[in-house]
Symmetry: C2
């Protein structure tokens, strides 16, 4: 092989390595999305089998997190990527952790589903708030993965805004849960389980926002963490 072809060969393998990291991250994302959807469904339908399925998937998610991390480090050591390629590898190592955390929180929701199931009886108050928050959280997790798949900054911004709305809804829901507990102290244990599930959903929203911020960093090289939405919008306008 002459030097030009060798270069092309190396560059081709390098692109394949990067593409593989991308694909694997999206696969892990799909797995975690399923976990989240199943966990929420397990609460809504009091389905213990579904909750068990979510808990079993956790090992697989953990395995993938460690695998992706190892592979990212191998790419760094072998290929010594620069500029946007380096940003992609760094983004992958960060986003895997967010995905693993989402899976972990989904797992907590599944545990709450099992606890609520064991108590039996009418789902009762708190379910409307939970379902509402869950729907919005599931949506932004999906959008954050789409944003990464398509390098879509506008979608990433939708996630950032969506997370802010979720935080507001979460706070309202918590206040309502406290009211329910005061009105019916016998329901405290049950309402606390819903409270923890709400909390897990709110955290998942934060992780979706993190992924969206990683996407913005990947595309524009701008670190928008700890930045208000209006300041992010200003920074992005200057870039385009």
């Amino acid at each position: 092989m002459d030097s030009l072809h060798l270069d092309q060969h190396i560059s081709h393998q390098f692109n394949e390595d990067l593409e593989l990291l991308r694909t694997k991250l999206l696969e892990m994302g799909g797995l975690v999305e399923d976990q989240l959807r199943d966990a929420v469904k397990a609460i809504e339908t009091a389905d213990g089998g579904l909750a068990e399925k979510v808990r079993k998937t956790e090992d697989e998610v953990d395995k993938r997190e460690m695998e992706l991390d190892r592979e990212s480090i191998t790419v760094l050591a072998r290929r010594q990527p620069a500029a946007s390629d380096l940003r992609l590898v760094m983004m992958v190592t960060k986003a895997t952790r967010d995905l693993e955390r989402i899976g972990d929180e989904a797992n907590k929701i599944a545990k709450m589903a099992q606890a609520l199931n064991e108590e039996g009886g009418d789902p009762g108050r708190g379910y409307v708030e939970l379902r509402h928050l869950a729907r919005n959280v599931i949506r932004i997790v999906g959008v954050s993965l789409d944003a990464f798949a398509r390098y879509d900054v506008e979608a990433a911004m939708e996630v950032v805004r969506g997370d802010k709305q979720i935080d507001t809804e979460y706070k309202t829901a918590v206040r309502e849960m406290i009211t329910y507990m005061m009105e019916d102290p016998r329901a405290i244990t049950r309402v606390m389980n819903i409270m923890w599930a709400l909390r897990a959903l709110e955290r998942i929203g934060d992780h979706a926002r993190n992924i969206a911020e990683h996407v913005i960093y990947l595309v524009h090289g701008t670190d928008v963490r700890h930045t208000s939405i209006s300041d992010i919008e200003k920074a992005l306008q200057q870039k385009s």
Copy 2:
């Protein structure tokens, strides 16, 4: 400069870069430790000024997180480190995030301190549990930073074990809080604030454990996340 001296010069600069990352991570750790201690003290002494101080430090912690991340990427791009040097840089980017999260949770505790302060009156039940958990959490955060400073795997293992104990104590404390709420529904709002502070402490314990796991990875190159304590101990025995 001849080639040997140029090499030495580059290698000297490289070591300085790595040492700077290490120092800055430990500085950030010290800042976050102060935040945590102040936040807990703000609850214990109902000191609103201290709570305000914790909240103000948050901006500084956020700034340092972004700075350290940027500098780590610069080192990766310029120096293309390998083996244990590469592990150090990766560890720094991961540990900064854990430290930032600890600061964020300390901030939540400070908010709870302010909320409890505004309600006024006797601290009441829950404070003993909170103080006990806080003492243990503050301890393992300190040990995790020491473990990093000294590359001390035994100290890291102490953190891993300490976090497990904290999880158990946290669960007991939560059950007690639920009992308090049932016994005195008028105290629900107050007890919920203590509950959130307990929750934040439990999360901080998890982040200290993460840092300890990073240290083990750094020293031995073994990824011990999602691994039971006895399996970690086995893996480490094989290494030594």
